[in-house]
């Protein structure tokens, strides 16, 4: 390879890198633009030209959203249901994953097939009967009703099963030699060994639950019981056509999950990659 052709290749590489950076900035721009717009006074928002930074920085839309609307209430609903769904999903899935991986019992195979089958079934098609079920149980407009159908999350079970499968058999045998019973083996040996996986799965389960739209949208009819993702789009009277206020509410709705991602970036990507490896 001659020096000039090497330089040429470096030039091409540089251009590709530069393009990637430009696209990345453009990609995230709508998020930036939404945030910036929410910080402008309403009259500035609708000016007929592009202003990349507010002339007058204001938090009035946030104060409005937090004081004049039910957003605080929705926050509580979202937190309660997302945390509840996460705890229930993680704890039940961990136990099932452990049983599937480490214990031999009758119906183990059928159970495994049931879980694999539930991968294929689109929960969106079950909305009618979920609604009938939750209505009959008197759980419409309750946290429990919002949580219940969200507990179908076979991915978490399979990730756990595969994680437990990878633990060398020696650990189990050492624990058996150490006189540990089945529950002690699970809670003292296997569970503490996978806090990393558990954290990762818990964070994404929380994000998935926080972001779920269709079911909370159906299960709740009273505005005070809505989750925040549903509330900000369904109660438009509260915001009118005030774009900046709407955007401020959207920023507030997205903030917890965005923060969760930015704080636990490595864990989130780990969990997503793990779960995707299984979906295929």
């Amino acid at each position: 390879m001659t020096a000039s052709s090497a330089r040429q290749i470096n030039l091409v590489g540089g251009i590709i890198t530069l393009l990637t950076l430009i696209i990345a900035i453009l990609w995230a721009f709508p998020i930036y633009w939404g945030i910036v717009s929410s910080l402008k006074p309403e009259n500035e928002v609708v000016r007929p030209y592009i202003e990349l930074w507010p002339e007058t920085l204001t938090f009035e839309h946030y104060i409005f959203a937090l004081t004049e609307t039910q957003i605080g209430r929705w926050y509580i609903n979202s937190i309660a249901t997302a945390v509840g769904a996460t705890i229930l999903t993680i704890s039940t899935s961990m136990l099932v994953g452990y049983a599937l991986s480490q214990l031999r019992f009758p119906l183990r195979r059928p159970l495994y097939w049931l879980i694999l089958a539930s991968f294929m079934v689109p929960t969106q098609t079950l909305i009618i009967n979920h609604f009938v079920l939750v209505a009959n149980m008197g759980l419409l407009n309750t946290w429990a009703g919002i949580i219940l159908p969200q507990l179908i999350n076979p991915v978490v079970i399979i990730v756990y099963k595969q994680f437990f499968d990878q633990v060398p058999r020696d650990f189990r045998e050492a624990a058996v030699m150490d006189n540990a019973g089945e529950f002690r083996i699970l809670f003292k040996v296997y569970m503490p060994m996978n806090w990393g996986v558990t954290t990762a799965l818990a964070i994404v389960t929380f994000i998935w639950s926080w972001n779920s739209f269709l079911w909370p949208f159906l299960a709740v009819t009273k505005t005070e019981m809505m989750t925040i993702t549903v509330g900000i789009t369904q109660v438009s009277d509260a915001f009118g056509v005030y774009y900046a206020s709407q955007l401020a509410a959207a920023v507030l709705a997205g903030l917890p999950v965005a923060l969760a991602y930015l704080l636990f970036q490595r864990r989130v990507t780990q969990a997503i990659t793990l779960s995707a490896g299984i979906k295929g």
Binding site: P168, D170, F171, E173, A174, A175, V176, M177, D178, N179, A180, G181, R184, K188, V189, P192, M193, W195
Partner: protein
């Protein structure tokens, strides 16, 4: 400390026999090594004693107590695993205490035992570390410490040195032998490495093909192997085997040479003569030796030299010469056999030794 008796124990995985009617008595305080190639059943046998594998048939007595149906924790034995199986989320102290806490031992007693074991293994300073912060050799010690604190009737080791590098392996070998002398407890040790077996054990149990080939002290199995398998398996470089027929107190090899052999065996055509390389000498003068051949390869090992020779019928033999051997590849050399170190093996593998 206790005697361990295996009485005709057997095991199958499905229809495959993996242990076939093995009987063995291990004395209290004895260091016994299970040695054999992979698949010989040595690990399975150890795990059957530990209780990690079921015993399908036969009896197991540990300290006089019928133990073949007891769960592993109640057999009063401790095991050191090949990969140590240290709980990664626990400190060294917790790793050692885990088994004691599981049987609800009083905390002061747990602490005393952990301290004692740590002192004995010289790892007091490591008690609050986690396994990931330890070197391979230190992990090995923690694994042993975890066994010591249980004050078991017997220690079971499953290839515990195979994950260490060569230098550390030699050192740990010596440490283990010292530990055995100090604690004077029964130890059963599984390995495929004959050096470990020869150097550490009181007795070696050689397993092959799901059964015991020979039980004996290291020197016994080396000098008087019970079968052709043992003869070939023990010793490095391994024993030379030459086909031939036995008649009138001498072996006639395929190249026509006759070797006098004082062995009380029936006359037949299908014997193999076995002789270790150190009993085959390269002769100085022409026409002196028992047989002769052409040198193919010369390996200088420093204190001795291994000379690979092809006899005229094409069979290969390794002879040992002094460290400064002048022999060159291509040389024609005469070989002399030390006939007091001859072994004969019949077609079934049974061994006879020269008197």
């Amino acid at each position: 400390m206790a005697e361990i008796i295996l009485d005709k124990v057997s095991k199958s995985f499905g229809s495959v026999r993996v242990i076939n009617e093995v009987s063995l008595t291990i004395q209290s305080g004895e260091f016994v090594v299970f040695l054999g190639p992979s698949g010989s059943g040595k690990s399975t046998l150890l795990r059957m004693i530990a209780g990690l594998e079921t015993i399908d048939d036969g009896r197991l007595l540990i300290g006089g107590k019928e133990s073949q149906t007891l769960p592993p924790g109640q057999r009063n034995v401790a095991m050191v695993f090949q990969n140590y199986a240290l709980y990664p989320h626990m400190t060294v102290r917790d790793n050692m205490a885990f088994g004691l806490r599981n049987i609800k031992m009083a905390a002061p007693e747990v602490e005393r035992r952990v301290q004692d074991a740590a002192r004995m293994l010289e790892m007091d300073a490591l008690l609050d570390r986690r396994p990931s912060e330890l070197s391979g050799g230190q992990r090995q010690r923690v694994a042993i410490g975890r066994a010591i604190v249980k004050e078991p009737a017997a220690f079971l080791f499953d290839e515990p040195l195979s994950n260490l590098d060569a230098a550390l392996r030699v050192r740990t070998r010596v440490e283990l032998a010292e530990l055995h002398q100090r604690m004077n407890s029964t130890m059963i040790y599984v390995t495929h490495d004959q050096t470990e077996a020869m150097t550490m054990s009181d007795r070696i149990v050689i397993l092959n093909d799901c059964r015991i080939e020979q039980i004996g002290t290291p020197m016994e199995v080396y000098t008087r192997p019970a079968s052709r398998f043992v003869a070939g398996f023990i010793g490095s470089p391994s024993m030379n085997f030459l086909k031939g027929s036995y008649k009138d107190g001498a072996m006639t090899l395929l190249d026509g040479s006759r070797i006098a052999a004082r062995v009380a065996v029936p006359e037949a055509d299908t014997y193999e003569l076995g002789i270790r390389p150190e009993a085959v000498k390269v002769c100085e003068g022409e026409g002196e030796g028992d047989t002769k051949g052409q040198v193919k390869v010369v390996e200088h090992l420093g204190e001795r030299t291994l000379v690979h020779v092809h006899l005229s019928d094409g069979s290969a033999i390794v002879a040992q010469d002094g460290g400064r051997s002048p022999v060159q590849p291509g040389d024609e050399v005469a070989l002399r056999f030390d006939i007091s170190e001859l072994h004969l093996f019949d077609a079934s593998g049974k061994a006879w030794h020269a008197e």
